[in-house]
Amino acid sequence: MLWLYNGALDVESILSDWYREYRDKNFGAFINFVGIVRKEGNIEGLSFDIYEPLLRSWFEEWQKRAKSKNALVLMAHSIGDVPIHKSSYISAVLSPKRRVALSMIDEFVEDFKANAPIWKYDLVDGKRVYAKDRSLKLPNSGILSSKD
């Protein structure tokens, strides 16, 4: 249950689809995180590259973890350009009772930020500028470097 879209996410339709799909599956808690592109400095928006094979295997590991707690994770992400005040990222957790969903949405979003193979660019004057300062190194980065 991982969806990738070109451009901004249609938040209303994604949340509605998810709710309609799962409301009668006896989950008592449905928590959504919606990330919205903020206006900061002179950026016109953000842009994203995704390495889909690794993103899907990262997500499937999370789905296993969720299922072991009778929960479910859902996620949608944009590829390419997303203007200011549009959404680029939505994730959700469904669980029978609230505690699992409340804890898992936090862990899921933080792990996503640290480990999902997605690259972010600021859009400035129509050009992509890699958001290097806000990016995080993946585990074991540097193993091919000769600068020891």
Binding site: F48, H77, Y89, K120, A131, L136, L138, N140
Partner: protein, 73 residues
């Protein structure tokens, strides 16, 4: 030949290399100053699994991916 792909902002075309392990790939890149700047902050995946050991063996159909720092959402 194994394939090496450079993901996200690196902006380098994929290349094919004839190597037996990742250590030999490290040697190939030794004198490329531009790619060294990326390698020191990049992770490495072999066939879409992140690896932590440059002694790992590489077969001729393997795909090696270079992943610079990430920032989703």
């Amino acid at each position: 030949m194994a394939k090496v792909e450079f993901l996200g902002p690196i902006g380098k075309e994929p290349m094919e290399v004839d190597i037996k392990n990742l250590k030999e790939l490290k040697d190939i890149f030794r004198d490329d100053k531009k790619i060294q700047e990326w390698l020191k902050i990049s992770a490495v995946a072999v066939n879409d699994t992140l690896v932590n050991d440059i002694d790992i063996k590489i077969d001729k159909n393997d795909k090696i991916s270079i992943l610079p720092p990430v920032c989703g959402g």
